[in-house]
């Protein structure tokens, strides 16, 4: 899809497995059929759409609302957060942020260590209850009950959260079962994913014996097995070797081509600049820049914009003569 955020909004996204780049597997049924297995049926939960006239949050400590970016107003939103806040004791990790992620976008969440990226993503995927604010994912409110949202997303969390004493294949089997896939689907999809992520030879090894990069890849496989419309990844490329990074990028690109949404956090500007069509830069719990990458950078390099946004001293650190 184009990087300016104007494409990829296919209302019926096809499954990632239809890609002829992925191991030449035969074309399989559309993703909607597979996702239907895991998404709660209408009536089971109460999916609440985000009204367009939702007033902006007010109150002390809340960021000023970010006006909708031009070009996004007519698109569906995968994520919309309003006044999202999380405090840890006296420290405010996320400070009333407003975040809008259009459906079909490849969205990068940037920020220095401790900026609040992981905390924001954890609240978006239902792993951390916000103290204030609201977040709607795939047109479902995440809180108070994140279960319906969890059915519509794939997550690679910061801590990976794996069952270490399972083999890779067993792990995918149980994840598939938790995602309500049938045994045939699980077998087929796990085989494909293990192959695509170059984990076939390690399929019957315990995850406890995996390297960090392999753990990341099996976590990504688990996040993809139910073919979710939205993938949320916390530092997906960290500790992953270049060859595997390439495989992962390939898979993510194809997800975007099929109209899925990918949001990930990263410190690596080059990766974000190369992959993402939209970015948000966080600093000290607030979003300091957000929008299509072309608008955010305005022709400059992303790392320059980032440094400016987070107030880094571009001159560099004080003299470290003692290192000479």
């Amino acid at each position: 899809m184009a990087k300016d955020g104007d494409a990829g909004s296919d209302p019926n996204p096809t499954d990632i497995y239809t890609s002829d780049h992925m191991n030449d597997h035969p074309v399989r049924p559309p993703a909607a059929d597979r996702i239907a297995d895991s998404v709660p049926a209408p009536g089971q939960t109460a999916p609440v759409g985000l009204p367009t006239d939702m007033p902006p949050p007010t109150g002390p400590g809340l960021s000023a609302p970010i006006p909708p970016t031009a070009g996004w107003a007519d698109r569906d939103l995968a994520i919309r957060a309003i006044g999202l806040t999380k405090r840890f004791g006296a420290h405010t990790a996320v400070d009333g942020i407003n975040l809008t992620v259009p459906t079909g976008s490849f969205y990068g969440l940037l920020g220095p260590n401790g900026a609040g990226k992981s905390t924001t993503l954890a609240m978006a995927v239902g792993l951390l209850r916000p103290d204030a604010g609201n977040i709607v994912v795939n047109n479902l409110p995440v809180w108070p009950d994140p279960t319906p949202v969890k059915a519509t997303i794939g997550v690679v969390p910061e801590d990976l959260l794996l069952f270490e004493r399972l083999t890779a294949r067993e792990y995918l089997t149980y994840v598939g079962r938790f995602r309500n896939l049938n045994d045939d689907q699980i077998r087929e999809r796990s085989g494909d994913l293990l192959k695509a992520l170059d984990l076939e030879l390690a399929a019957n090894k315990l995850i406890a014996d995996f390297s960090q990069g392999m753990r990341k890849k099996i976590s990504l496989a688990a996040a993809l097995i139910h073919s979710p419309p939205l993938l949320i990844l916390d530092e997906p490329f960290e500790s992953v070797d270049p060859v595997s990074q390439r495989s992962i990028r390939h898979i993510l690109d194809h997800l975007i081509d099929r109209g899925r949404t990918v949001i990930f956090s990263s410190h690596v500007m080059a990766t974000v600049e190369e992959l993402c069509d939209s970015v948000a830069i966080m600093d000290e719990g607030r979003i300091v820049r957000a929008g299509p990458i072309g608008e955010v950078t305005a022709g400059r390099r992303l790392d320059d914009v980032f440094a400016e946004a987070v107030g880094t001293d571009l001159v560099g650190p004080p003299s470290l003569d003692w290192l000479q």
Binding site: S38, P51, M54, P55, P144, T147
Partner: protein, 549 residues
């Protein structure tokens, strides 16, 4: 309450305040319930230490259960059978509350944080976790042993009540275990993690003391004691279901039904508490402790005592021990052992026995051995920041075991002085203290030997205090080291003890010092040799500490 905007644009309660409505009316997905239970079974299959634990549990549980079952069946005509059933049932429930804290608990196998990623509704998740909790030896015995009380049935009605009560008792037990582990896990993920560690230690100590009291009671028990105990126990919720069994056993079906009904309140309350605990864990309470800062627990001057590496490691170890509940929980685990040694003797005495003042060196050697057998356990990946290949390992070893052994020394010396005051054996105190020092040295050497050969990574997971991730060799090494250290301490201490008893306590001091000097030199040489050995084994130790479990 924080006002936030709800999706319909009106101000409402904060997200967490709507939890109580969650889960109502949601259907249980039985396929997922089976998967959760199957997941635990699968994980156990891949965990050798869990399998060995189950086999040992089966043997030990089978051995104990055979005796208890025989007792229950044999009591069929005994007039005190009701009291004994009430006491035994309540005791079983207390064990369910305490034992999982000490033994690690099932949540370490099925980590809730890992399950939190998946779209499992609360009824399904809770049912799955409950079913998974029944996979294991404790539940099997908790169900089967009370069922043998059916032999007391006087009619078909009382037989049915006994069966229902036995099942209710077992289910209550499982829930009690989940609630106690869940609460401690919740505490452990907040700023109250020290409290969680304290509760775990208290549970261990309570179990240690409880085991002694029960064994002492069994020696000289009078049936009236059970009758008195029953009259108290049945006033409390943990006594209601056991009392239903007692009443059924005595042929009182109406009273039995009444207590059975009352007893059903406890599992219902426990389910409610457990639901809330699970929900809080799923909602990310774990993150609350992320930015908790510890105040300096060791004064700064300690770091400046010396620029030698030993002092640096010593101060760092002391800080770690005091800040990390996993560390001091492990250290405190030796207390029940000391109690197990001392309580029976002390409680059996009818008069003062000054000679006992000589004995605390046995606690010292056991304590020093136990606290030193896992010097690198809490280091995990940090281990590599302390050591480098070719480095002199001795300062690290000494710096690590010294604070631990010092803590044992303080406890044992205080206990020894207390014993001298209580027993009136002040004259034995000097030689006793020399023996304590000697025993601490022996214990430390034995502990260091194990630490280097079988390091055990302490669990890093949320709520993990005593995960059974030690491997199956480590406990064998520990037992061997304990046996050897105790034997050596007794052999080396015997001349001084005999001299104190047969000749003179002051002469015994001379004898003790005469053995202490070569012991110190031998231990010093041993530690130096172990340091060289440790330097060679850095890769193996690193692998052992960083392997994931």
């Amino acid at each position: 309450m924080t006002d936030v905007m709800t999706t319909n644009g009106t101000a409402g309660a904060s997200p967490g305040c709507s939890q109580s409505r969650r889960g109502r009316g949601e259907p249980i997905n039985w396929g997922t319930v089976r998967s959760i239970a199957g997941l635990k079974f699968r994980i156990i299959r891949h965990t050798p230490q869990a399998i060995i634990g189950m086999i040992l549990g089966l043997l030990l549980g089978g051995f104990l259960s055979t005796g208890i079952v025989g007792l229950i069946i044999g009591l069929a005509e005994n007039e005190h059978r009701g009291s004994i059933l009430t006491f035994g049932g309540a005791l079983g429930l207390i064990l369910w509350f305490l034992a999982p804290l000490v033994l690690g608990g099932g949540e370490l196998i099925l980590d809730l944080r890992t399950l939190a990623v998946y779209p499992l509704n609360r009824p399904t998740l809770l049912t799955g976790l409950l079913l998974a909790s029944t996979i294991g030896i404790p539940f099997i015995f908790s169900l089967l042993v009370p069922l043998t009380a059916i032999s007391h049935a006087t009619s078909s009605i009382t037989a049915v009540i006994l069966v229902v009560a036995a099942v209710q008792l077992a289910v209550t037990g499982v829930l009690a275990g989940r609630v106690s582990v869940g609460l401690v896990s919740l505490l452990a993920t907040t700023r109250f993690r020290s409290v969680a560690g304290g509760i775990t230690v208290l549970a261990a100590i309570t179990l240690g003391i409880g085991a002694q009291i029960v064994s002492l009671a069994a020696i000289d028990i009078k049936p009236d004691w059970f009758d008195n105990a029953r009259s108290v126990i049945r006033l409390f919720p943990i006594g209601w279901t056991p009392e239903a069994m007692a009443q059924a056993s005595l042929g009182q079906p109406i009273r039995a039904l009444l207590f059975l009904l009352l007893g059903s309140a406890l599992p219902l309350v426990l389910i409610g508490v457990w639901q809330r605990v699970v929900q809080r864990l799923l909602d990310g309470e774990a993150a609350q402790s992320r930015l908790t800062r510890s105040k300096p627990l060791v004064p700064g001057w300690m770091d400046r005592l010396s620029d030698r590496r030993t002092a640096v490691v010593w101060a760092k170890s002391l800080r770690t021990i005091r800040r990390d509940p996993r560390e001091w929980t492990e250290l405190a685990a030796f207390l029940p052992l000391v109690l197990a040694f001392s309580l029976p003797t002390l409680t059996q005495l009818n008069e003062r026995e000054p000679n006992l003042v000589l004995m605390p060196f046995l606690a010292a050697v056991s304590g020093a051995t136990m606290v030193s057998t896992n010097l690198f356990g809490g280091d995990a990946n940090r281990f590599v920041t302390d050591v480098f290949p070719g480095d002199d390992f001795q300062p690290i070893l000494v710096g690590k075991f010294l604070p631990r052994v010092t803590l044992v020394a303080i406890i044992v010396v205080v206990a020894n002085i207390g014993l001298a005051w209580f027993m009136g054996g002040w004259r034995f105190l000097p030689v006793a203290l020399v023996l304590v020092v000697q025993s601490l040295l022996i214990g430390a050497a034995a502990g260091v030997w194990v630490s280097i050969r079988s390091p055990i990574p302490l669990p890093e997971k949320v709520g993990g205090f005593n995960a059974a991730n030690a491997g199956c060799i480590a406990p064998l090494f520990q037992i061997l080291a304990l046996f050897v250290a105790d034997t050596v301490a007794i052999l080396l201490g015997a001349p001084a003890v005999l001299t104190a008893l047969a000749v003179s306590p002051w002469m015994a001091v001379v004898v003790a010092v005469v053995t202490l000097v070569p012991t110190y030199l031998m231990v010093k040489r041993r530690i130096a040799a172990e340091a060289v050995n440790a330097g060679r084994r850095i890769p193996e130790i690193t692998v052992a500490l960083t392997r994931r479990t």
